[in-house]
Amino acid sequence: MRVRWYAGTCIAFVAVAVAVAVVAAYAVRSEGRRAPTRPVAADASLDPAEARHYGPVVPDAAQRAPLAPGETRYQKVGARLLPPKATDHAAIAASDALAVFRESGLRPDVFSDGGTPTIDLVRYTNDEVGPVDPKTGAVTPTAMDRLAWVVTFPTAAVVVYGGRGHASVDGGRCPFVYVVDAASGAPIDSFQECAPLHS
Protein backbone atom coordinates (compact mmCIF):
# COMPACT_ATOMS: atom_id res chain seq x y z
CA MET A 1 0.00 0.00 0.00
CA ARG A 2 2.80 2.36 1.04
CA VAL A 3 4.75 1.48 -2.13
CA ARG A 4 1.78 2.42 -4.31
CA TRP A 5 1.44 5.73 -2.43
CA TYR A 6 5.15 6.57 -3.05
CA ALA A 7 4.85 5.62 -6.71
CA GLY A 8 1.78 7.82 -7.18
CA THR A 9 3.46 10.81 -5.52
CA CYS A 10 6.56 10.31 -7.63
CA ILE A 11 4.56 10.17 -10.86
CA ALA A 12 2.64 13.32 -9.88
CA PHE A 13 5.90 15.13 -9.07
CA VAL A 14 7.44 14.19 -12.41
CA ALA A 15 4.29 15.25 -14.25
CA VAL A 16 4.30 18.66 -12.56
CA ALA A 17 8.01 19.13 -13.29
CA VAL A 18 7.52 18.26 -16.96
CA ALA A 19 4.59 20.66 -17.18
CA VAL A 20 6.64 23.49 -15.62
CA ALA A 21 9.54 22.79 -17.99
CA VAL A 22 7.23 22.84 -21.02
CA VAL A 23 5.63 26.12 -19.96
CA ALA A 24 9.02 27.69 -19.26
CA ALA A 25 10.41 26.58 -22.60
CA TYR A 26 7.40 27.99 -24.42
CA ALA A 27 7.75 31.31 -22.58
CA VAL A 28 11.40 31.59 -23.57
CA ARG A 29 10.60 30.78 -27.20
CA SER A 30 7.79 33.34 -27.21
CA GLU A 31 10.15 36.02 -25.93
CA GLY A 32 12.63 35.06 -28.56
CA ARG A 33 10.07 35.36 -31.34
CA ARG A 34 8.87 38.77 -30.17
CA ALA A 35 9.83 41.28 -32.84
CA PRO A 36 11.75 44.30 -31.56
CA THR A 37 9.85 47.54 -32.11
CA ARG A 38 13.06 49.43 -32.82
CA PRO A 39 16.17 47.52 -33.77
CA VAL A 40 19.17 48.90 -31.92
CA ALA A 41 21.72 46.77 -33.72
CA ALA A 42 21.95 44.59 -36.74
CA ASP A 43 20.64 41.09 -36.23
CA ALA A 44 20.24 37.98 -38.31
CA SER A 45 16.68 38.88 -39.30
CA LEU A 46 17.81 41.94 -41.23
CA ASP A 47 18.59 41.98 -44.90
CA PRO A 48 22.40 41.96 -45.28
CA ALA A 49 22.23 45.11 -47.38
CA GLU A 50 20.65 46.89 -44.44
CA ALA A 51 22.50 45.10 -41.65
CA ARG A 52 25.88 46.46 -42.66
CA HIS A 53 24.71 50.00 -41.87
CA TYR A 54 24.34 49.35 -38.14
CA GLY A 55 27.12 50.44 -35.84
CA PRO A 56 28.32 53.26 -33.63
CA VAL A 57 28.97 56.69 -35.08
CA VAL A 58 32.59 57.54 -35.75
CA PRO A 59 33.07 61.05 -34.32
CA ASP A 60 35.58 63.55 -35.63
CA ALA A 61 38.86 63.39 -33.77
CA ALA A 62 38.68 67.09 -32.90
CA GLN A 63 35.22 66.70 -31.46
CA ARG A 64 36.30 63.65 -29.47
CA ALA A 65 39.31 65.41 -27.90
CA PRO A 66 39.13 66.69 -24.31
CA LEU A 67 38.01 70.30 -23.93
CA ALA A 68 40.84 72.82 -23.90
CA PRO A 69 40.97 75.43 -21.11
CA GLY A 70 38.34 78.10 -21.72
CA GLU A 71 36.80 76.21 -24.63
CA THR A 72 33.12 76.16 -25.53
CA ARG A 73 32.10 73.37 -27.88
CA TYR A 74 28.89 72.88 -29.83
CA GLN A 75 29.21 69.22 -30.70
CA LYS A 76 26.08 68.76 -32.80
CA VAL A 77 27.20 71.43 -35.26
CA GLY A 78 30.92 70.74 -34.86
CA ALA A 79 31.94 74.20 -33.65
CA ARG A 80 34.80 74.94 -31.26
CA LEU A 81 35.29 78.34 -29.57
CA LEU A 82 38.66 78.94 -27.91
CA PRO A 83 39.91 82.01 -26.05
CA PRO A 84 41.80 84.50 -28.25
CA LYS A 85 45.56 84.68 -28.10
CA ALA A 86 47.18 87.49 -26.14
CA THR A 87 48.40 89.10 -29.35
CA ASP A 88 45.02 88.98 -31.11
CA HIS A 89 43.46 92.26 -32.10
CA ALA A 90 40.03 92.63 -33.69
CA ALA A 91 39.82 95.05 -36.60
CA ILE A 92 36.13 95.64 -36.02
CA ALA A 93 34.35 96.38 -32.74
CA ALA A 94 31.91 94.06 -31.01
CA SER A 95 29.13 96.51 -31.81
CA ASP A 96 30.05 96.25 -35.50
CA ALA A 97 29.59 92.46 -35.34
CA LEU A 98 26.18 92.93 -33.78
CA ALA A 99 25.31 95.38 -36.55
CA VAL A 100 26.36 92.85 -39.20
CA PHE A 101 23.93 90.36 -37.74
CA ARG A 102 21.16 92.93 -37.40
CA GLU A 103 21.55 94.01 -41.02
CA SER A 104 21.59 90.44 -42.28
CA GLY A 105 17.86 90.07 -41.73
CA LEU A 106 18.38 86.53 -40.41
CA ARG A 107 16.22 85.75 -37.36
CA PRO A 108 15.69 89.43 -36.33
CA ASP A 109 13.15 88.29 -33.74
CA VAL A 110 15.96 87.10 -31.45
CA PHE A 111 16.66 90.75 -30.61
CA SER A 112 13.28 90.95 -28.91
CA ASP A 113 12.81 87.46 -27.48
CA GLY A 114 16.22 85.77 -27.52
CA GLY A 115 17.51 87.21 -24.25
CA THR A 116 20.38 89.65 -23.72
CA PRO A 117 23.13 88.79 -26.22
CA THR A 118 26.74 88.23 -25.30
CA ILE A 119 29.50 89.11 -27.78
CA ASP A 120 32.78 87.30 -27.32
CA LEU A 121 36.06 87.47 -29.18
CA VAL A 122 37.21 83.91 -29.83
CA ARG A 123 39.32 81.68 -32.01
CA TYR A 124 36.63 79.96 -34.04
CA THR A 125 36.87 76.59 -35.73
CA ASN A 126 34.17 74.66 -37.48
CA ASP A 127 35.42 71.16 -38.10
CA GLU A 128 32.43 69.83 -40.00
CA VAL A 129 31.28 72.59 -42.35
CA GLY A 130 32.84 73.03 -45.75
CA PRO A 131 33.50 71.54 -49.16
CA VAL A 132 33.84 67.76 -49.26
CA ASP A 133 36.48 65.95 -51.30
CA PRO A 134 34.37 63.48 -53.29
CA LYS A 135 37.17 60.90 -53.33
CA THR A 136 38.23 60.94 -49.69
CA GLY A 137 35.16 62.42 -48.00
CA ALA A 138 37.44 64.84 -46.15
CA VAL A 139 35.95 68.23 -45.25
CA THR A 140 37.86 71.47 -45.67
CA PRO A 141 36.42 73.61 -42.86
CA THR A 142 35.20 77.06 -43.80
CA ALA A 143 36.63 78.42 -40.58
CA MET A 144 39.78 77.13 -38.93
CA ASP A 145 41.19 78.95 -35.89
CA ARG A 146 39.72 82.21 -37.18
CA LEU A 147 39.57 85.31 -34.94
CA ALA A 148 35.87 86.03 -34.73
CA TRP A 149 33.15 87.75 -32.81
CA VAL A 150 30.54 85.33 -31.59
CA VAL A 151 27.13 86.84 -30.90
CA THR A 152 25.02 84.58 -28.69
CA PHE A 153 21.37 85.06 -27.82
CA PRO A 154 20.87 82.63 -24.91
CA THR A 155 17.17 81.86 -25.07
CA ALA A 156 16.03 82.08 -28.69
CA ALA A 157 13.06 80.05 -29.86
CA VAL A 158 13.97 76.82 -31.62
CA VAL A 159 11.94 76.41 -34.80
CA VAL A 160 10.79 72.95 -35.90
CA TYR A 161 10.79 72.46 -39.69
CA GLY A 162 8.86 69.43 -40.92
CA GLY A 163 8.43 66.64 -41.37
CA ARG A 164 5.17 65.88 -43.08
CA GLY A 165 3.08 63.33 -41.23
CA HIS A 166 5.18 63.54 -38.10
CA ALA A 167 3.79 64.50 -34.73
CA SER A 168 4.05 68.20 -33.86
CA VAL A 169 6.60 68.96 -31.19
CA ASP A 170 7.57 72.02 -29.19
CA GLY A 171 10.96 73.39 -30.16
CA GLY A 172 11.82 74.99 -26.81
CA ARG A 173 14.51 77.64 -26.42
CA CYS A 174 18.26 77.41 -26.94
CA PRO A 175 21.31 79.59 -27.65
CA PHE A 176 21.31 81.12 -31.13
CA VAL A 177 24.80 81.88 -32.39
CA TYR A 178 26.00 84.21 -35.17
CA VAL A 179 29.71 84.33 -36.00
CA VAL A 180 31.42 87.31 -37.67
CA ASP A 181 35.03 87.49 -38.89
CA ALA A 182 36.77 89.95 -36.55
CA ALA A 183 39.11 91.12 -39.30
CA SER A 184 36.84 91.57 -42.30
CA GLY A 185 33.39 91.81 -40.74
CA ALA A 186 32.15 89.01 -43.02
CA PRO A 187 29.60 86.58 -41.60
CA ILE A 188 31.08 83.12 -41.04
CA ASP A 189 28.44 80.91 -39.50
CA SER A 190 25.06 80.78 -37.80
CA PHE A 191 23.50 77.95 -35.84
CA GLN A 192 21.33 76.95 -32.93
CA GLU A 193 22.11 74.17 -30.49
CA CYS A 194 21.24 73.56 -26.86
CA ALA A 195 23.57 72.45 -24.11
CA PRO A 196 27.03 73.38 -25.42
CA LEU A 197 29.99 72.00 -23.54
CA HIS A 198 32.18 74.34 -21.46
CA SER A 199 35.53 73.55 -19.91
Partner: protein, 247 residues
Amino acid sequence: MRTIFSRFMVVAAFCIVAPFLSVPAVDAALATCGVGGNWFDGKDQSVYTNGNYYEGVSAVITSRIGLVCDSDTSNSNNFSNAWSMIANGESASGGWVQTGYIRGYGGHIYHFGQVWDGIAPFSTHSATRYGASALASGERHRYWQQWSSSCYCELAMIDVTQWIKTTWNPFGTWTTPFEMQFEAETRYRESDVPGTPAAPAQWDTMQAQAYSDTFITMPNVLQQPAPDSTRWAISTQSVTQFRVWTK
Protein backbone atom coordinates in the same frame (compact mmCIF):
# COMPACT_ATOMS: atom_id res chain seq x y z
CA MET B 1 -31.69 116.43 -65.33
CA ARG B 2 -31.89 113.27 -67.35
CA THR B 3 -28.09 113.38 -67.96
CA ILE B 4 -27.37 113.75 -64.25
CA PHE B 5 -29.64 110.81 -63.53
CA SER B 6 -27.87 108.68 -66.14
CA ARG B 7 -24.44 109.50 -64.74
CA PHE B 8 -25.70 108.69 -61.24
CA MET B 9 -26.93 105.32 -62.42
CA VAL B 10 -23.60 104.53 -64.11
CA VAL B 11 -21.64 105.37 -60.95
CA ALA B 12 -24.06 103.40 -58.83
CA ALA B 13 -23.80 100.41 -61.12
CA PHE B 14 -20.00 100.61 -61.03
CA CYS B 15 -20.01 100.74 -57.25
CA ILE B 16 -22.10 97.57 -57.14
CA VAL B 17 -20.11 95.65 -59.73
CA ALA B 18 -16.58 96.83 -58.88
CA PRO B 19 -16.00 94.52 -55.91
CA PHE B 20 -16.69 91.53 -58.13
CA LEU B 21 -14.27 92.76 -60.78
CA SER B 22 -11.31 93.02 -58.41
CA VAL B 23 -8.64 90.39 -59.08
CA PRO B 24 -6.63 89.04 -56.18
CA ALA B 25 -3.00 90.02 -56.45
CA VAL B 26 -0.83 87.13 -57.53
CA ASP B 27 1.60 85.86 -54.88
CA ALA B 28 -0.15 87.80 -52.14
CA ALA B 29 -0.26 86.13 -48.75
CA LEU B 30 -3.30 86.87 -46.65
CA ALA B 31 -3.18 89.58 -44.01
CA THR B 32 -4.43 87.54 -41.08
CA CYS B 33 -2.63 84.39 -39.99
CA GLY B 34 -4.81 81.50 -38.88
CA VAL B 35 -3.97 78.35 -37.00
CA GLY B 36 -0.25 77.79 -36.58
CA GLY B 37 1.24 74.42 -37.44
CA ASN B 38 3.46 72.80 -40.02
CA TRP B 39 1.63 72.86 -43.36
CA PHE B 40 2.97 71.20 -46.48
CA ASP B 41 2.83 71.07 -50.25
CA GLY B 42 5.04 68.46 -51.91
CA LYS B 43 5.83 64.79 -52.32
CA ASP B 44 6.99 61.98 -50.09
CA GLN B 45 7.51 58.24 -49.95
CA SER B 46 6.64 56.45 -46.74
CA VAL B 47 5.19 53.21 -48.11
CA TYR B 48 7.29 50.89 -50.22
CA THR B 49 5.87 47.96 -52.13
CA ASN B 50 8.97 46.76 -53.94
CA GLY B 51 11.23 46.15 -50.94
CA ASN B 52 13.78 48.67 -52.12
CA TYR B 53 14.55 51.01 -49.24
CA TYR B 54 16.63 54.18 -49.19
CA GLU B 55 19.01 55.97 -46.85
CA GLY B 56 19.40 59.36 -48.52
CA VAL B 57 17.73 61.81 -50.88
CA SER B 58 18.77 64.56 -53.27
CA ALA B 59 17.09 67.30 -55.31
CA VAL B 60 18.04 70.53 -57.01
CA ILE B 61 15.55 73.14 -55.79
CA THR B 62 14.96 76.54 -57.35
CA SER B 63 14.72 79.23 -54.68
CA ARG B 64 11.65 81.44 -54.73
CA ILE B 65 10.27 83.95 -52.27
CA GLY B 66 7.31 82.79 -50.23
CA LEU B 67 5.41 85.78 -48.84
CA VAL B 68 3.94 85.17 -45.41
CA CYS B 69 0.81 86.40 -43.66
CA ASP B 70 1.07 89.66 -41.76
CA SER B 71 -0.47 89.32 -38.32
CA ASP B 72 2.42 87.24 -36.93
CA THR B 73 5.50 89.42 -37.33
CA SER B 74 7.89 86.88 -35.80
CA ASN B 75 10.55 86.14 -38.40
CA SER B 76 11.36 82.74 -36.95
CA ASN B 77 7.85 81.54 -36.26
CA ASN B 78 6.23 82.83 -39.45
CA PHE B 79 8.17 81.23 -42.30
CA SER B 80 7.95 79.73 -45.78
CA ASN B 81 10.52 77.19 -46.92
CA ALA B 82 11.40 74.33 -49.29
CA TRP B 83 13.61 71.31 -48.64
CA SER B 84 14.55 67.66 -49.08
CA MET B 85 14.54 65.24 -46.14
CA ILE B 86 15.24 61.69 -45.02
CA ALA B 87 13.09 60.86 -42.01
CA ASN B 88 12.35 58.22 -39.42
CA GLY B 89 10.05 55.56 -40.83
CA GLU B 90 8.13 55.60 -37.58
CA SER B 91 6.41 58.93 -38.10
CA ALA B 92 4.81 59.05 -34.65
CA SER B 93 8.28 59.31 -33.15
CA GLY B 94 9.66 62.02 -35.42
CA GLY B 95 13.28 62.41 -36.41
CA TRP B 96 14.78 63.79 -39.63
CA VAL B 97 17.73 65.22 -41.52
CA GLN B 98 16.98 68.02 -43.99
CA THR B 99 18.46 70.90 -45.97
CA GLY B 100 16.75 73.58 -47.99
CA TYR B 101 16.05 77.29 -48.00
CA ILE B 102 13.87 79.42 -45.79
CA ARG B 103 12.45 82.91 -45.59
CA GLY B 104 10.85 84.41 -42.46
CA TYR B 105 8.61 87.44 -42.00
CA GLY B 106 10.29 90.54 -43.41
CA GLY B 107 13.52 88.66 -44.14
CA HIS B 108 15.63 87.30 -46.97
CA ILE B 109 16.10 83.76 -48.27
CA TYR B 110 18.73 81.66 -46.49
CA HIS B 111 20.03 78.11 -46.67
CA PHE B 112 19.20 76.03 -43.63
CA GLY B 113 19.67 72.51 -42.36
CA GLN B 114 18.17 70.74 -39.38
CA VAL B 115 18.81 67.35 -37.78
CA TRP B 116 16.82 65.62 -35.04
CA ASP B 117 17.25 62.08 -33.77
CA GLY B 118 13.55 61.86 -32.90
CA ILE B 119 14.07 61.76 -29.15
CA ALA B 120 12.31 64.28 -26.89
CA PRO B 121 12.86 67.02 -26.02
CA PHE B 122 13.46 68.47 -29.46
CA SER B 123 15.58 71.31 -28.09
CA THR B 124 18.38 69.16 -26.71
CA HIS B 125 18.25 66.50 -29.42
CA SER B 126 18.28 68.74 -32.49
CA ALA B 127 20.61 71.20 -34.19
CA THR B 128 19.98 73.80 -36.86
CA ARG B 129 22.40 75.69 -39.07
CA TYR B 130 21.49 78.74 -41.15
CA GLY B 131 23.34 80.31 -44.03
CA ALA B 132 25.15 83.45 -42.95
CA SER B 133 24.53 85.16 -46.32
CA ALA B 134 21.25 85.68 -48.17
CA LEU B 135 20.24 83.96 -51.43
CA ALA B 136 18.56 85.52 -54.47
CA SER B 137 15.30 84.26 -55.91
CA GLY B 138 15.98 81.97 -58.84
CA GLU B 139 19.17 80.45 -57.48
CA ARG B 140 19.39 76.67 -57.90
CA HIS B 141 21.09 74.52 -55.29
CA ARG B 142 21.39 70.83 -54.66
CA TYR B 143 19.95 69.98 -51.26
CA TRP B 144 20.76 66.41 -50.27
CA GLN B 145 21.11 64.00 -47.38
CA GLN B 146 23.71 61.25 -47.58
CA TRP B 147 24.35 58.28 -45.30
CA SER B 148 28.11 57.81 -45.03
CA SER B 149 29.94 54.61 -44.17
CA SER B 150 32.95 56.68 -43.12
CA CYS B 151 31.13 58.00 -40.05
CA TYR B 152 28.03 55.76 -39.79
CA CYS B 153 26.06 58.97 -39.78
CA GLU B 154 23.86 61.08 -42.05
CA LEU B 155 25.39 64.09 -43.79
CA ALA B 156 23.18 67.08 -44.54
CA MET B 157 24.60 68.61 -47.70
CA ILE B 158 24.12 71.77 -49.80
CA ASP B 159 25.85 71.64 -53.18
CA VAL B 160 29.38 70.36 -52.45
CA THR B 161 29.35 71.63 -48.88
CA GLN B 162 28.80 69.52 -45.81
CA TRP B 163 26.34 71.64 -43.84
CA ILE B 164 25.72 69.62 -40.71
CA LYS B 165 25.98 65.95 -39.80
CA THR B 166 24.38 63.73 -37.25
CA THR B 167 26.13 62.64 -34.08
CA TRP B 168 24.05 59.46 -34.22
CA ASN B 169 23.43 56.70 -36.72
CA PRO B 170 19.88 56.70 -38.11
CA PHE B 171 20.23 52.93 -38.49
CA GLY B 172 19.47 51.69 -35.00
CA THR B 173 18.00 55.03 -33.95
CA TRP B 174 15.11 55.10 -36.41
CA THR B 175 12.77 52.52 -37.82
CA THR B 176 13.34 51.36 -41.39
CA PRO B 177 12.31 51.89 -44.09
CA PHE B 178 13.10 55.59 -43.87
CA GLU B 179 10.82 58.18 -45.45
CA MET B 180 11.85 60.38 -48.35
CA GLN B 181 10.26 63.84 -48.31
CA PHE B 182 10.44 66.77 -50.72
CA GLU B 183 8.26 69.59 -49.44
CA ALA B 184 7.41 73.26 -49.31
CA GLU B 185 6.23 74.27 -45.85
CA THR B 186 4.75 77.22 -43.98
CA ARG B 187 3.71 77.95 -40.41
CA TYR B 188 0.30 79.19 -41.59
CA ARG B 189 -2.02 78.15 -44.38
CA GLU B 190 -2.55 81.87 -45.05
CA SER B 191 1.10 82.23 -46.07
CA ASP B 192 2.44 81.48 -49.54
CA VAL B 193 4.54 78.47 -50.37
CA PRO B 194 7.52 79.59 -52.48
CA GLY B 195 6.74 80.21 -56.15
CA THR B 196 4.11 81.80 -58.34
CA PRO B 197 2.28 80.42 -61.40
CA ALA B 198 4.79 82.22 -63.62
CA ALA B 199 7.84 81.34 -61.55
CA PRO B 200 7.20 78.18 -59.52
CA ALA B 201 9.54 76.56 -57.04
CA GLN B 202 10.92 73.47 -58.73
CA TRP B 203 12.44 70.23 -57.46
CA ASP B 204 14.40 68.48 -60.19
CA THR B 205 17.20 65.96 -60.70
CA MET B 206 15.63 64.04 -57.85
CA GLN B 207 17.60 61.07 -56.59
CA ALA B 208 17.50 58.46 -53.85
CA GLN B 209 20.47 56.86 -52.09
CA ALA B 210 20.10 53.08 -52.19
CA TYR B 211 21.39 50.67 -49.56
CA SER B 212 24.41 50.21 -51.81
CA ASP B 213 25.21 53.84 -50.75
CA THR B 214 24.94 54.92 -54.42
CA PHE B 215 22.63 57.72 -55.49
CA ILE B 216 20.29 56.59 -58.25
CA THR B 217 17.72 58.43 -60.32
CA MET B 218 14.47 58.56 -58.38
CA PRO B 219 13.06 55.10 -59.06
CA ASN B 220 9.56 55.56 -57.64
CA VAL B 221 6.56 57.65 -58.46
CA LEU B 222 6.37 59.46 -55.14
CA GLN B 223 3.18 59.89 -53.19
CA GLN B 224 1.52 63.26 -53.58
CA PRO B 225 -0.86 64.18 -50.75
CA ALA B 226 -3.22 67.07 -51.38
CA PRO B 227 -1.64 70.43 -50.45
CA ASP B 228 -2.59 71.57 -46.95
CA SER B 229 -4.10 74.76 -48.40
CA THR B 230 -6.44 75.25 -51.36
CA ARG B 231 -4.38 78.35 -52.17
CA TRP B 232 -1.40 76.17 -53.10
CA ALA B 233 -0.76 74.04 -56.17
CA ILE B 234 1.55 71.23 -57.26
CA SER B 235 2.28 69.67 -60.63
CA THR B 236 4.37 66.71 -61.69
CA GLN B 237 6.67 67.13 -64.68
CA SER B 238 8.27 63.68 -64.44
CA VAL B 239 9.34 61.11 -61.87
CA THR B 240 12.36 63.31 -61.10
CA GLN B 241 10.77 66.75 -61.30
CA PHE B 242 7.81 68.62 -59.81
CA ARG B 243 6.72 72.19 -59.17
CA VAL B 244 4.96 74.03 -56.36
CA TRP B 245 3.44 77.50 -56.29
CA THR B 246 0.81 79.71 -54.70
CA LYS B 247 -2.16 80.26 -56.99
